[in-house]
């Protein structure tokens, strides 16, 4: 019997930010850490982050057997959370690379025209492409798109993410 030695080359090539790195940048944890990996990163400008959708996620738990394919569309709220986290990772990791130490709890401030053009289903890999528009103190403005394979499924005209001191959260 011949046992081939597996070629591990592709598995040892690290993406710009692996899951462990994301946990150092974001306070989100399982199961709401909605990013798996960052595959492209341009500090202060642009991020490409991926998230694999799977039927084992809690949002698919308890789904009725009568549910048809369309009922398995990945929830818009989780799509938005995932893109929001890509936005936050772009902003915060850029700040860290610039020697800053971002402090506070991350909150979603506002969003405008988050348009769902298509749906993602278990087995799809989401690809968020987010660009930083501006930062103002503890606030950052971004816009972006989400792709599932070669289908663009979301466009977001504007998202505001912010850091807030725990003591001043109201």
């Amino acid at each position: 019997m011949t046992v081939e030695t597996p070629d591990t080359t592709v598995h040892t090539t690290q993406a710009p930010l692996e899951h462990a790195d994301l946990k150092r940048i974001l306070a989100h944890r399982h199961p709401i850490l909605q990013l798996d990996r960052v595959v492209e990163f341009e500090p202060g400008r642009r991020i490409v982050a991926i998230k694999a959708v799977t039927g084992t996620e809690p949002c698919y738990g308890g789904l009725s057997d009568d549910a048809v394919h369309a009922d398995h569309a990945y929830p818009a709220s989780l799509l938005m959370e995932s893109m929001g986290q890509a936005s936050a990772a772009l902003w915060l990791h850029s700040a860290i690379l610039a020697g800053e130490q971002p402090r506070g709890t991350l909150v979603f401030g506002s969003a405008r025209e988050f348009t769902i053009e298509g749906a993602a289903y278990p087995g799809d890999v989401l690809r968020h492409i987010v660009e930083l528009d501006s930062t103002k103190g503890d606030n950052a403005f971004m816009h972006g798109e989400t792709w599932a394979g070669d289908r663009r499924i979301v466009t977001a005209d504007s998202m505001l993410v912010a850091l807030r001191d725990d003591m001043t959260l109201t």
């Binding site: 949002c59 009922d71 818009a76 909150v107 405008r112």
Partner: protein, 163 residues
């Protein structure tokens, strides 16, 4: 008309229709008719067509909340959007309309929700236009009266999406 877990039997909502007595958010989410992160409202009142009032108690045991965040549990902003879309879909379903979210037109968060808080959401629900699209406007406030969010969504009937 009051739509709660016991009367949503045939409406399209993630709420459990079979075991309403276990109906605490997240603890029992069996029987969901579409994928959803949590059961995002506890009760839904539809005083007249086109309006609805949804109430959601924030509980730390809800799915996903343990990771948001480990040091301080906060009801995620996107779950407030989930509350509005689930409430809108349930209210529409009670009127025989099956609609799905297509656009978060605008959302602005102005108050934090933590376990123990109760969020009351007042919705104004439009009627489908020729394209099957309709607008939902919502204001969310906390038990102490503080505004938590203003949200405008667009939904589209599934019938229109299929044609």
């Amino acid at each position: 008309m009051t739509v709660d877990t016991e009367t949503t039997d045939r409406t399209r909502t993630p709420h459990s229709a079979e075991r309403p007595d276990e109906g605490r958010s997240g603890v029992d989410n069996a029987g969901k008719s579409y994928a959803a992160p949590i059961r995002a409202f506890d009760t839904l009142d539809v005083p007249e067509p086109g309006t609805a009032v949804a109430v959601k108690e924030i509980v730390a045991e809800d799915d996903y909340l343990s990771g948001h965040y480990p040091h301080l549990t906060i009801y995620p902003g996107v779950f407030t959007i989930e509350t509005v879309q689930q409430a809108a879909r349930a209210a529409l379903a009670a009127g025989g309309i099956d609609a799905m979210l297509t656009d978060v037109t605008s959302v602005r968060f102005t108050g934090t929700l933590v376990p123990g808080d109760t969020m009351t959401t007042t919705l104004t629900i439009g009627t489908p236009d020729d394209d099957g699209s309709l607008v939902v406007k919502a204001r969310c406030h906390r038990q102490d009266g503080r505004n938590c969010a203003r949200i405008t969504l667009r939904l589209r009937t599934r019938e229109a999406q299929l044609r």
